[in-house]
Each structure stands twice: as C-alpha cells, then as structure tokens.
C-alpha cells in the first residue's frame, strides 16, 4: 500500500510543482495518471520511484515513511519498483540485452536464468533480433520497448510507466499494455502516466487527474 498525506514537492528553490496530494494506492491496484503537459505527472512518479523525497507531507511505501528510510532501505525498495521513464533512461554504452539484464544481475541472478528471461522478454516486445544493439542506434519506439522490458523483468511489486506507449503504433502499444495488465493481475501495483485517452477506454482502470500540481476529482475528458 502506498500513501500520500498532504504531500508537496518543489525542485530546489523553485516553485512548488505538487501541492497537497492526498492519495492511497492499494496493493495490486491499477491507475492511470493523466493531465496536461507540465501538470506534474512525471514529478509524482519520481516520488513513487524514490528518485526524490517529498519536500513536505508524508509518503509511506512498503510500510515505511520514505523521508526517514536509510539509503540501503531505499535500494531495497527500488528493487521492488520497475520504472519506464518518459525519456527511457537507458545506458547508452550497454546493448539492449545488457540494459534489460541489469535489474536481474544487480540482485545476483544466475547468468543462465538471466539469459533466458531477457530473451523471452525481448521476443515479447519484438526486439529479439536487436539484443546486441546499443540505444544510440535505436529508434524511439525501440528504446521505449527496451525500457519496458527492463522495467518488468524483475517482476516488480510496483510498476510505474511514464507515457510508455508514446512512441508506439497501436498494435505494439496494446501488446505492451497486455504485459502490464498481466503483471497487474498477478499483484503488481500499476501506475501509468499518459496523455493517451484511448488506453483507459481499452484497458479500464481508475484515473488520477493532475492539474497544475493538484489532484482533481474526475476525468479531464
């Protein structure tokens, strides 16, 4: 269970970009996070993936106040969170294979198992022939699919996806969404930030609506 209580976030000494967020996400739930550009979707996800800590209020994840968690505790939490970043955040010097393998290798998974899992996922996202290609030589959609594969390979307890289908055509977008829904069915808590109004219709889940840093009731459309 994830709990926001009166959370605010500002970047450095800039203006506050998230205000008074009160929210509870039950374990195994699935939500869309929508809102106009600049509304604070990525900022909100960055709190959830523990990239930043709230500047005020209380955020509780995995039963602990993240403001007081130690560095090693945070590392443990991050291993349970998969993230598809809006700008992918792939390591450019590593091949698609090695990028996807990263979360497994960091927890010491057996190399044979790593290889099997990585190829399985690369095949699912249609990139099995690009295992040795590095991100700078990939299209936006290809990078996006590598990012998705890396986010899900550790079967995370929490999956956060920031505009995960932005660069994909409809069939490929649906294919990845089916992957997310499958994980969600197996208990992964899911938050997908998107501008795409088609996704909530096709794969229904409750919608969280952000506007100018405030969480609003109801859908924007």
């Amino acid at each position: 269970m994830i709990r926001f209580e009166n959370v605010g976030l500002r970047y450095g000494s800039g203006p506050e970009v998230l205000h008074d967020i009160d929210l509870t996400l039950e374990s195994g739930s699935g939500h869309y996070l929508v809102g106009p550009t600049g509304a604070g979707k990525t900022s909100m996800l960055s709190l959830l993936y523990l990239g930043r800590r709230p500047t005020r209020g209380l955020l509780t994840m995995f039963g602990q106040d993240v403001a007081t968690a130690t560095r090693s505790a945070l590392t443990g939490f991050r291993r349970r969170i998969g993230v598809v970043f809006q700008d992918y955040n792939l390591l450019d010097h590593l091949s698609a294979f090695d990028n996807v393998a990263l979360p497994l290798r960091l927890v010491g998974t057996d190399p044979g198992m790593v290889r099997d899992h990585v190829y399985q996922l690369l095949e699912w996202v249609g990139l099995d022939t690009m295992a040795d290609v590095k991100p700078p030589f990939m299209s936006g959609g290809e990078k996006q699919r590598v990012a998705v594969a890396r986010a899900v390979i550790g079967q995370p307890d929490v999956l956060l996806a920031d505009e995960p289908t932005g660069n994909l055509d409809e069939p490929m977008a649906d294919r990845l969404m089916m992957l997310f829904m499958e994980l969600n069915r197996h208990g992964t808590t899911l938050v997908i930030a998107t501008h795409n109004t088609r996704l909530p219709q096709r794969f229904p889940h409750p919608v969280l609506h952000l506007k100018e840093g405030f969480l609003k009731a109801g859908r924007p459309w």
Partner: protein, 294 residues
C-alpha cells in the same frame, strides 16, 4: 540462441581520460618510491656492515693500573653508573684486553712485559651523555687522571646520517603516498561527475553504493597495476645497473650493495601496495560521495 555473454562494465570507466592518467602518475610514484626505498636499504646495509646501527653510543675510559686500586675502580663504576643517560658500565677484564690485542698483533703479549691498563666501557643512549671532558673531571676526584675515548666523531656522523636518511626516506614515501592518494581521489571524483547519469540510473534499478564503488575500485586497482608494475621494473633495472657500475669503480668506502631476497621482495611489493592503496582510496571516495547524495 545459446551464446556466452560476458558481463559488461556497467559504469564505462575504461574509456575515461583517467585511464591513461592513473597509470602514469602511479607509475611515476612507484618508480620514485622504489628508488628511494632501495637507497635507504642500501644505506642500512652499509651501516650494518660497519656495525654502527645499534642504538647505543659508547666510550672507553682508560686509567693506569698504578692509581686504580680495586676500591677506586669499584667507586668509579658506581659514579659512572649514576651519571644521567648512562645505560651500561662494564669493567673490561684482562683476558678481553689480551684477546683484543692478540686480534690486532697476531700474538698474545706477555702481561708482565706489557703493563695492561684498566678499561671501563660505558654505553649511553645519546651522544650528549658521553662528554669526555665531563667524565674526566668527575673521575679526577675518585681515581685521579683518566683518559676517555669517546666514539670518533665520524662514526657519530655516519650514524646520524643513517638516521637522517631513514627519516628522509620515510618522509618521501609519505609524500609519494599522499600524492598518489590525492590523485586517485581527484580522478575518482571526476569520474563520479562524468558518470553521474549512469550512476543515477543504476541506483534507480537497484544498485547499492557498494556495487557502484566496486566498479570504481576494480578500475583503480587495474590502472594502478598497469602503471605501478612498469615503474617498479624500470626502477629495479636502474638499481641493478647502478650496482654493476659501482662494482666496477670499487669504491672502497662503499661496499657493493647487495640486497637480500627479503629486501628484493620488499621492493617488488611496492606496485602491489600502491595498487591496494589506489583501490581503497577509490572505494572510500565513492562511498563517501554517494553517501552524501540525497
């Protein structure tokens, strides 16, 4: 698709500019420290051969047998033993004196023909406690005129030179170590900022600080060995060549330098020591820098 996949370096340190800087600086530092240390070892070897490395300073007091009654000698020994800084007073027996003379002349002299003096050896921990004139003056009252032979000045000079060389060696080794450590810290900090984005991503996917530190420390170890081993080998070649040259000159005061196996191992261990220092310096730098991150 069964293919062996080698695990890549997740922080791409191998392509950093530091990958040529670290071997250069550590190579130079190991080269210097090998030369400095070998000079110091050589100096000690020479001193050992002259048996002048002890911590004790000595003087010998000679008095004529005529005015040295047994009581007078005993009284002198008491007086000497109570002087400040004196660690040992020893009456040299007649046999010892005769043996010494025998060693010099090759034959044992007849004690009846050669009047043996009374000799008292005195040892002190510092040369200041062995002022000949002071001792003469003090004993004047107990036994009358004596002659005090203090260790010759040149021997004291060599002694203090050996001490100074060791001190300078230690200082230079410390400076060299400091330069190496500071360089490694600088290089590591630079690399941390170059690879900040990569490190952030690694953290995000669950890498611990110690995992990231291990990549930096391994790189530091490898680069330090890459520089340290050639620097060490080069210095040792120079030492051997210099040994050959001084052997040709046969300078009589400088016995040819020959290191024991232990001393060679000592010198050869320097690149390993340097590499370990570089490794630890890199690790500590990464752990402390990352620990300061939010």
């Amino acid at each position: 698709m069964v293919r062996w996949r080698q695990r890549p370096q997740e922080v791409p340190l191998a392509s950093d500019p530091s990958s040529s800087f670290v071997p250069t600086i550590i190579g130079a530092m190991v080269f210097l420290s090998t030369l400095v240390l070998s000079a110091s070892l050589a100096m000690e070897g020479v001193a050992d051969r002259w048996q002048i490395t002890g911590q004790q300073y000595g003087a010998t007091i000679e008095m004529s047998r005529d005015n040295a009654s047994e009581e007078a000698v005993a009284a002198s020994i008491d007086v000497l033993a109570q002087l400040p800084g004196i660690s040992r007073v020893h009456l040299v027996g007649d046999n010892e004196i005769l043996e010494t003379i025998e060693a010099w002349t090759g034959g044992r002299p007849d004690p009846d023909l050669l009047p043996l003096p009374v000799l008292i050896d005195v040892e002190a921990v510092s040369p200041e406690s062995l002022r000949g004139d002071v001792i003469e003056q003090i004993l004047e009252e107990t036994v009358g005129a004596v002659t005090v032979y203090v260790e010759p000045q040149w021997l004291l000079a060599v002694r203090s030179t050996v001490g100074t060389v060791q001190l300078v060696t230690a200082l230079m080794l410390i400076i060299i170590a400091l330069i190496s450590v500071v360089s490694i810290i600088y290089v590591t900090r630079t690399a941390l900022s170059i690879h900040q984005d990569t490190i952030e991503i690694l953290h995000q996917v669950g890498a611990q600080d110690s995992y990231i530190a291990s990549q930096f420390q391994n790189q530091s170890l490898i680069l330090a060995l890459m520089g340290g081993i050639p620097g060490n080998v080069l210095a040792i070649i120079i030492i051997i060549l210099m040994g050959e040259l001084s052997g040709d000159i046969e300078a009589p005061l400088l016995p040819a330098v020959s290191f024991s196996v232990r001393e060679w191992l000592f010198l050869g261990a320097l690149p390993v020591v340097a590499a370990l220092v570089a490794m630890v310096a890199a690790r500590v730098t990464v752990i402390t820098s990352l620990g300061r991150m939010p």
